[in-house]
Symmetry: C2
Subunit: 196 residues, 2 copies
Amino acid sequence: MTMPKRDTYTPDSLLAVAVAVFNERGYDGTSMEHLSRAAGISKSSIYHHVRSKEELLRRAISRALDGLFAVLDEPGATTGPAVDRLEHVTRRTVEVLIAELPYVTLLLRVRGNTDTERWAMERRREFDHRVAALLKEAAADGDLRADVDVRLATRLLFGMINSVVEWYRPQRGNAATSEEVADAVITTAFAGLRAH
Amino acid sequence: MTMPKRDTYTPDSLLAVAVAVFNERGYDGTSMEHLSRAAGISKSSIYHHVRSKEELLRRAISRALDGLFAVLDEPGATTGPAVDRLEHVTRRTVEVLIAELPYVTLLLRVRGNTDTERWAMERRREFDHRVAALLKEAAADGDLRADVDVRLATRLLFGMINSVVEWYRPQRGNAATSEEVADAVITTAFAGLRAH
């Protein structure tokens, strides 16, 4: 049996531990007991910080969503031709995803079993719709190719962006930087991989 | 209590039921009891068809892998310039993924907790390496743009392809056909979304 350590957690550092456990075990598969063991403090110490597991989920998801929605208010996302705004949003979404990797990973994996999860999915859909609207506008401007259906293009763009949480591992020595990944996504999605 | 139905399952039809349950509950979260309830036959009837849950997993994963690896032996994947072989493999991978949607979905979600899952991940990595080698060859031929790292390009291409299992729902009336999805992936990945 390990001795519980002194509780020196801040709300943010406790959240980081919880999110790591949620991502490893799945939110549904995580109990307060698992969180207590991972944090090395007692369950009652955790309840000193938060009322419930669901509150931890809500805080973590909020952090991811705040980062993503903030992108939509940046000048690059609100001025200029739609296709350029779309590129800006794509680039910045990749950057936020990498900066907030565990939080966005959790957001992308929630399944809708609790109110908080359903709210997360609703907000995520809202974000997707905002980006889909940009694609539609860019297509209407004639700046996207006409031979790819806008809905399919939206799915594939998000498929590419969201895949980053599945394979990007910053701790690897040879990991690409956030900017390199964003560049690769932009180039692949907008200019294509084939040399011209 | 519902009456168990007469066991008229074939190996394939029982597998289809099991895979649907695995995809919904997760493989780890599925018990023989869940399978028995979903199939409407007793557990001992299921054991008449298969020795274990893991055998069902192995059969389902084999079906997905056989479909994917067969693509690599097609003439379009073995003759001609690497970039064309890569396009062929991309297109056919999307088509297999849609034709075998629940089986490939299961393959992409296994996590490595059992021997069968580890074997599935190993074989999946092997497939990815074969495709990565095609990208490398196409890049060496000068047929892929030089400003995207080949490893990143491989990740993003698979990100786009594999995302199909997350959003493609054939039962929806307005679903794109397998060919339309494959076309969209090819165009997006190789030519890019921007109009020229």
